[in-house]
């Protein structure tokens, strides 16, 4: 074809330009990004001091059984007989019947230690992270029950969908070496 040669030359010229600028752009981007990046892995975690126990952790996680579960700082616990994290605020009768328990799944379990102390442990398999017990404990107890993102379940989404819904901005990324924000006994 007569006009084939100039046509393809122009195309070659353009392709060269496009290729050059693409390479340059990618290189520049890589340079800028390498300056802004670092190798430390991060994971999502809840700051228990910011948590307001709104129950969203149970429902907003991308996993149908939330990655958030309740954790118990045993050293902070008062081992009360009448645990406001365990019992409904106004139980009909103080017994461990399901109608008196705050926990909707029976994950918070109560066991007798010695008079008058009871220990409360969380069955991870049953806990759905609804924070009812956390709210009860925070309102009238020592605040030894609190929510944490459990890293055996968390899939470490690029954007935590609970963090997006959290009203108190309690969820942020933390270094993977210290993946939990556990409550400790107050030294006062």
């Amino acid at each position: 074809m007569p006009d084939d040669t100039p046509h393809s030359t122009r195309r070659d010229f353009l392709t060269g330009w496009v290729r050059g600028s693409a390479l340059l752009g990618t290189g520049a981007l890589a340079g800028v990004l390498s300056g802004r990046s670092q190798a430390t892995e991060t994971v999502w975690q809840i700051d228990p001091d910011k948590c307001i126990q709104c129950h969203r952790c149970a429902t907003e996680c991308v996993l149908t059984e939330s990655a958030v579960k309740c954790v118990h700082a045993f050293a902070m616990c008062g081992y009360c007989d009448l645990c406001t994290g365990y019992f409904e605020p106004r139980p009909n009768e103080l017994n461990t019947g399901a109608e008196n328990q705050l926990c909707p799944t029976g994950a918070l379990q109560r066991s007798f230690i010695e008079d008058p102390y009871y220990q409360y442990t969380i069955d991870d398999k049953k806990c759905i992270g609804c924070s009812r017990c956390v709210a009860g404990c925070a309102a009238f107890g020592n605040g030894s029950l609190f929510l944490q993102i459990r890293h055996d379940r968390c899939v470490n989404c690029n954007e935590c969908s609970i963090a997006m819904a959290c009203p108190s901005e309690a969820i942020s990324r933390v270094p993977a070496e210290t993946p939990y924000k556990l409550k400790r006994v107050n030294e006062t």
Binding site: A139, E159, M164, P167, P179
Partner: protein, 445 residues
């Protein structure tokens, strides 16, 4: 015997009256057990080991290498399907779709615009490695390694051809999606690509009902319209399309060998093969053509300005995407007495005790980012529309079949249909040698 402790009425009163006093430590001092009871410790399962990240990058590079080799050197569709299945199993179901290069666009945007954000090295690698491979081999990442592309490719059982008048405008949706994703990520508001990833619920076998529904709908649509997400939504595909135009060893149609049989065009499920224009443009119409092209090109700055203007008008609604802006709006309305009740957000903010002006300041900072970002995003979308219009305004004289490198997802379907594919040539030669075919047509090697 369970006894009612005498502090019950007081407790109930406290519980009812003073729920706000939280955080005061040790209302009930931890007991000293006489029985010597040992306190258990809470379990803290560790996150995935960091070598997983290195493994992911290594697998990504290996999969891209194998896919590129199979596509360009072996021209093997079957091989591509193999890598496709591997990608679905590894990046999809095993790694549960995170991190993916499509979503990494947002992390990169945030890292570019927010100096406080540190880009994880693995995310940067996931963003750049497919770009480098695309620069060399075309969109081999899209073909087989991307789990989103892979799952769509596998369900494409009965493809229909989408007419170009529909394909072109629909593919522009990707640019809107890209602009929005970068805008929301760069302002630190949201990662919408991750939020609306249609297949993540399938890969995780868990998710919200509407996301599962979206994924299933997309797969059902994908049975007849091949790769609907890639073609009409994928924001990363836009970037890879630009890079692919400049790729070094992209699959190509050799004009010397092409017999203009259009078999490749019929096979291509994504409208990536351009047909030659048979009729030469009459000389009388060339002047009008050129005028139309020049006029369109001259209108381009106007279109971009219009896009930026529309962007500026959208600053307010767009900025509502940000939590800080929504909080400030609500606080403002509450202060003005529009609402008497508090939301969880405003309650939590008021509980922190920081002055409301702080929330307004934060919202103002975010809004300022939107005031700059939204017009740029609008201009970008307008530019994409304008460039497409410009391309349509130009009547191309194409002498031979040609691959549109930006649209080609390197799925390798077309190779086997080309009469000049080495396997077909070999088969033809064997048949000819066996006397079952007449001698090969001139031009065949």
């Amino acid at each position: 015997m369970k006894r009612w402790p005498s502090y019950i009425p007081g407790a109930v009163l406290l519980f009812a009256v003073l729920p706000g006093i939280a955080g005061a430590a040790s209302r009930f001092p931890p007991p000293d057990f006489e029985s010597g009871h040992q306190l258990p410790t809470a379990t803290t399962p560790a996150p995935d080991a960091s070598w997983y990240a290195i493994l992911d990058v290594a697998v990504l590079i290996a999969a891209l290498g194998v896919a590129s080799y199979l596509i360009l050197a072996r021209r093997s569709r079957r091989g591509v399907i193999g890598v496709t299945i591997f990608a679905i199993i590894y990046f999809g179901f095993w790694r549960e779709g995170c991190v993916c290069p499509i979503g990494s666009v947002q992390n990169v945007s945030l890292a570019l615009f927010d100096r406080g954000y540190v880009l994880p090295l693995i995310v940067g690698a996931f963003f750049l490695i497919p770009i480098i491979f695309t620069f060399l081999f075309g969109r081999t990442f899209c073909a087989a390694v991307c789990p989103l592309g892979a799952i769509q490719d596998l369900v494409a059982t009965s493809p229909v051809r989408v007419p170009m008048w529909l394909e072109t405008p629909l593919s522009l949706l990707r640019h809107i999606y890209l602009a929005a994703a970068v805008l929301f990520a760069a302002t630190g508001s949201a990662f919408i690509i991750c939020e609306y990833d249609p297949f993540i619920a399938i890969f995780r076998l868990s998710g919200r009902f509407n996301m599962v529904l979206l994924g299933v709908a997309m797969l059902l649509l994908g049975m007849i319209v091949v790769r609907p997400y890639c073609r009409y939504f994928c924001p990363y595909g836009v970037i890879l399309g630009w890079i692919s135009r400049a790729s070094t060893w992209h699959a190509r149609i050799d004009p010397q060998q092409c017999v203009n049989c259009h078999l490749c065009k019929d096979t291509c499920p994504v409208n990536a093969i351009r047909v030659p224009t048979v009729e030469p443009i009459p000389p009388a119409e060339r002047g009008a053509d050129r005028r139309r092209f020049v006029l369109t090109a001259a209108a381009l700055p106007l279109i971009v300005a219009l896009g930026a203007g529309i962007g500026y008008l959208l600053v307010e609604p767009m900025s509502r995407m940000d939590v800080a802006v929504r909080l400030a709006d609500r606080l403002h309305a509450e202060q003005a007495g529009v609402f008497t009740d508090l939301t969880d957000q405003t309650k939590a903010f008021r509980a922190t005790g920081s002055p409301i002006a702080d929330a307004y300041d934060r919202a103002a900072t975010v809004t300022w980012r939107y005031r700059i970002g939204t017009p740029i995003a609008g201009a970008f979308v307008a530019l994409a529309f304008g460039m497409t219009w410009l391309q349509l305004a130009r009547r191309t004289r194409r002498a031979e079949y040609d691959i549109d490198r930006a649209w080609c997802v390197a799925c390798a379907r077309c190779f086997r249909y080309c009469p000049h594919d080495p396997r077909n040539v070999e088969m033809l030669n064997e048949l000819t040698a066996a006397g079952q075919m007449p001698a090969a047509a001139p031009g065949t090697s």
